[in-house]
Symmetry: C2
Subunit: 233 residues, 2 copies
Amino acid sequence: METHPSFDAYIGSDGVTLDARDVALLRAIDREGSLNTAAQSLGRSYAHAQRRVVELEDAFGALVERQRGGAGGGGSTLTTTARELLAAFERTRASFEGVAEIAETVIVGTIVERDGELVTVETPAGAIRALVPDGDGEVQLSLRADAVTLTDPEDTPVPEHTSARNRFAGTVVGVESGERIARIAVDVGLEQPVLALVTEDSREKLGLDDGSEVVVSFKATATRGVAVGDADD
Amino acid sequence: METHPSFDAYIGSDGVTLDARDVALLRAIDREGSLNTAAQSLGRSYAHAQRRVVELEDAFGALVERQRGGAGGGGSTLTTTARELLAAFERTRASFEGVAEIAETVIVGTIVERDGELVTVETPAGAIRALVPDGDGEVQLSLRADAVTLTDPEDTPVPEHTSARNRFAGTVVGVESGERIARIAVDVGLEQPVLALVTEDSREKLGLDDGSEVVVSFKATATRGVAVGDADD
DNA sequence: GGTCGTTGTTTCGACATCGATATAACCGAA
DNA sequence: TTCGGTTATATCGATGTCGAAACAACGACC
C-alpha cells in the first residue's frame, strides 16, 4: 500500500476560505488582465469566476480593480491586498509542502511527565521533551528531518547553553546523497534511525559517512506528538 | 481583515484520499462497534458510511472487520491497518497544525546564487541559505519560530562543526512568556525581529530577557521560501 | 430448522454545485 | 452615433453528493 500524506492549504477570513483554485483564479486575472480571459484560460466558466470574486471580496476586501467599458472594453487588475494575499498563501503552502514531503522519524515512547502541553517522553534512547496537546500513556512523536541538527561531538555546546536540549549521541548508519541535499540516518538507540536533512555542504564539513560519530539535537518545540491508545478523548 | 492560514490534511493512496471526515468515521466505528451506530452518532446517513468504507478499503486494503448475524446481530471492528492509518493521519495532522499555528518570521531578500533548489539569499543581516524550489530575484523566506535555535554567544559551536549554518548574533527585543513556552523576539538587523519558540526552561537556563545577547541559528533545510515578483513561472 | 434482531447492501430521489447561455449595462474610440 | 469588448446578473440544465428507505445476509437462540 502506497500512502502519501498531503494537504490542501487555504487562508480563512470571515467564514470564507481562499484555496488553491482561488489563487489560480487571481493569478490568471493578473496574467490575462480580465476576468473573462482568465476564466477561459483556466477552462472554467466566467459565471463562476465572477461569482467567486464577489464572494472573496466580501470576506477579504477589495481584491480586483474592475473596469468595464472603455478602450478594449475594460479589464481587471489586482489590488495590493490581493498580491499580499497571494504571497502569504504561497508562503504557507511552501511550509506545508515541506512538512508533507520531508521524511519524518516516528518515535514511540511513554509520557512520564506532563506540564501543560510540554511532556517528557521515555524512550529506549532516553528522555525526550516534546509537545503533545493532550492524552496520556503511549505516544508517537514525529520528528521532521529538517528539524534535526547534527553537530561534531567535539564541539557540541553543553545543553545549558542552547535551546535545543534534546541531544543524543549516535553513529551514522546511512547516507543518501542527493544533488545538493543529503539525508543522514543516525542510530541513537531507537527502533528506527533518526533522519536528518542537511546540505551536502554541511555533510562534507562535518565529514559524515557511514560509521561517523555525531550528535543529533532538536528542540522540544519542534517535536510534536500524538497520544495513541489509552488517550482520554 | 483577520486572515488565518489553515489546511485540510489527508492521506492519499491509489487516487482515493482519506480525510478528516473519514478519520472521524473510523474513530466512530471503533468507538461504537458498528457501522450503523457509528453513522448515527455522527449524524450522517448509514448508506454513506458503508459506501465510504468500501471505497476506502478499495484503496487502502482491509480496514474494517465486519461481522453480521450472531448474538446482537453482529458488529464491526478496525483492523490494525486502520489503526496504523489513524495514527499516521494524526501525526501528519499534528505536524501541519504546528505549521499553521506557529508564528513565522517573514524575511525578504534577493537570490544571489542558486544551486539546485538551494539558494543563497542576500538580506540586510547578511547571507542566508535556504530552500527555494524555483524562481529568481526577490524572495520571501518563511522562518518558523520552532525551527530557530538560540544559543549562548560564549558557547556557540563554530559553523564548520554544525549543520545549522545560518547564524546571526542579535539582541532580545521581546519576551512573551507563556505557561511553559516562551516566544522570544530577537533583533538581528532584519526588518522584523526573528521569532523563536523555546521552553520556559530554556529561557531561564539561557537567562534570556530584553537586551540579552544571543545567537540565533537555523538550518538551510528548515528555511523555505517562495520567489515573488519577477519569477519565471 | 425456523425465528428474530442486527447489520451490510442497493436503489431511488432530493438537493447543492457548477457550467453554459442569454441579456443588460458600461464606456472609450472610430 | 455605432461599435466592440468587457463586467454584472439571471436562468436553465448537467453532474455529483448525500440521505431515506427498501432489500439481502448472517448467525445465535429457541
